[in-house]
């Protein structure tokens, strides 16, 4: 009988209107291989849908992938909705085509990490591991 806990549950979502899901699927893949249970929600989801799914799935973190340029607005909406639902303990990280100049602002709004093109799998997993190790698991 296998009851060993997986490392954590993580939801990967793509808010906004771009359909470029290669990055999101790549992240899903490397997280799975690192031992995480990953809920993938597909492309073109609203922040409301992503937050509600994250709450129902009781994930430890949400990863958002966005290539359309609307990251400042949509990432903020996800963080605000989590707060409104009393679920701000769910970590949010993101990735995509994000100008370096936007990154400090994203951290300030509460994004736990932001990955840009060229981030290695190793670096991403190490960051997610570190972020989630401080979170109290059930």
């Amino acid at each position: 009988m296998t009851t060993a806990h997986p490392r954590a549950r993580i939801l990967i979502g793509k808010p906004g209107l771009d359909g470029h899901d290669r990055g999101a699927k790549y992240i899903v893949h490397i997280l799975r291989d690192a031992g995480y249970e990953v809920v993938y929600t597909g492309i073109r989801r609203s922040p409301e849908e992503i937050v509600e799914a994250a709450i129902q799935e009781d994930v430890a973190a949400i990863g958002l992938s966005l290539l359309s340029g609307a990251h400042n607005e949509l990432f903020r909406q996800v963080i605000d909705l989590l707060k409104a639902r009393g679920a701000e303990d769910i970590l949010v990280f993101g990735g995509g085509i994000i100008p370096a100049s936007d990154i400090p602002g994203l951290h300030e709004m509460g994004m736990a990490a932001v990955f840009t093109p060229g981030s290695s799998a190793k670096e991403i997993i190490a960051t997610v591991d570190r972020l989630l190790s401080v979170r109290q698991e059930v």
């Binding site: 009988m1 296998t2 009851t3 060993a4 806990h5 997986p6 490392r7 549950r9 899903v28 893949h29 997280l31 799975r32 291989d33 690192a34 031992g35 995480y36 249970e37 990953v38 809920v39 993938y40 929600t41 597909g42 989801r45 609203s46 409301e48 849908e49 992503i50 509600e52 799914a53 709450i55 129902q56 799935e57 009781d58 639902r85 009393g86 679920a87 303990d89 698991e137 059930v138």
Partner: protein
């Protein structure tokens, strides 16, 4: 966040719509500590019961998730006030223990419907098509007053029939192009279906599959002398074709057998509690055996022929009747396997 099961249960029961977070936490707690389900048993008879628990199973890619999505849509239209729960199980990696749970992708249009609760579970090495956490999630969805609960198994082959233990009814979803009539004759999965769905009915080979299925089911029914064969529905879930007929059929079954299902579930609860009591008694006796000296000394004496297994068991039971070690009321040891 309060992780006490009793408090979480109270929160969910008081307001299932507002307290989705408590429900979700409760599910995680029961998934990660399956033994703690025993803490739910006190008062379980008083919990709300769903009208129907439907298992949906079949090979990978047959269209199970899409069928579930359409069932949600249609059921919500027909019963706007009813709540609905979905448990979607996907496989875990043997190598990393990680999992990709993708069933939800097909159901995301219902994500913000407060009457629909979807929970994905990874099988975590559990064989049989489900996950160890299903039992707990099912109970919590009952507590949330879900009227219809759908359990979607991992994509299965021929032997994974566990869903039949949890569901009132099992629908087996097949799609054309996955083997000839001999596959349908085989034992196992094909025997557990209460209703069959030929999905992707718009594709080549669908009517052939339907006729092979009908002839197999008729043959089986006549051999077993078991009355009417299970019905076969033709659907094309992506476009919604045939879904009305499928739900009609489910609702007819529900109206006809609902009371019988309640009785069955009650019997299962009784069996579960019986098992739990036996396990707890076994755990305590085993502790006593190890710590009392009856164990090591007694076993040696049995091997020397100085006493018998029966006498040793009697001694152990007498010792436990004297109440040592004291029973810790309500204490649950999470570390036990």
């Amino acid at each position: 966040m309060n992780e006490d099961i009793v408090h979480l249960v109270r929160d969910v029961r008081q307001n299932p719509v507002e307290n989705t977070r408590a429900a979700a936490r409760l599910m995680s707690l029961l998934e990660n500590h399956p033994a703690r389900i025993t803490e739910l048993y006190a008062g379980l008879a008083d919990w709300p019961e769903p009208l129907m628990v439907l298992g949906i199973t079949g090979p990978p890619g047959a269209g199970k998730s899409t069928l579930v999505d359409q069932l949600i849509e249609l059921y919500r239209k027909r019963h706007p006030l009813s709540r609905l729960g979905v448990i979607a199980v996907d496989p875990s990696s043997h190598a990393s223990k990680g999992s990709v749970m993708g069933d939800r992708v097909r159901m995301m249009r219902h994500a913000t419907d407060s009457h629909v609760f979807v929970r994905s579970l990874a099988a975590r090495g559990h064989l049989g098509g489900l996950a160890l956490g299903v039992r707990g999630v099912l109970r919590v969805m009952g507590l949330m007053q879900c009227q219809l609960i759908l359990i979607e198994t991992v994509g299965v082959g021929q032997s994974e029939m566990e869903v039949a233990e949890f569901a009132d009814m099992v629908a087996i979803v097949l799609a054309p192009g996955q083997g000839d009539g001999i596959q349908l004759l085989k034992s196992g999965l094909m025997e557990t279906g209460d209703v069959f769905v030929v999905n992707k009915a718009d594709r080549d080979g669908a009517t052939q599959l339907q006729s092979q299925l009908l002839s197999t089911l008729n043959l089986r029914a006549s051999v077993a002398d078991a009355g009417a064969p299970p019905p076969v529905c033709m659907t094309s879930a992506l476009g919604g074709d045939g879904m009305d007929g499928f739900l009609d059929l489910l609702e007819v079954h529900c109206a006809r057998s609902g009371d019988q299902w309640l009785t069955q579930r009650k019997q299962r609860f009784e069996q579960e509690v019986e098992q739990a009591v036996l396990q707890e008694a076994h755990r305590r006796l085993a502790d006593m055996l190890r710590t009392s000296g009856i164990g090591s000394e007694g076993i040696t004496r049995v091997l020397r022929g100085e006493t018998t297994v029966n006498e040793l068991a009697t001694a152990l039971l007498q010792l436990s009747a004297r109440g040592k070690p004291p029973y810790n009321e309500g204490h649950v040891d999470e570390r036990r396997p």
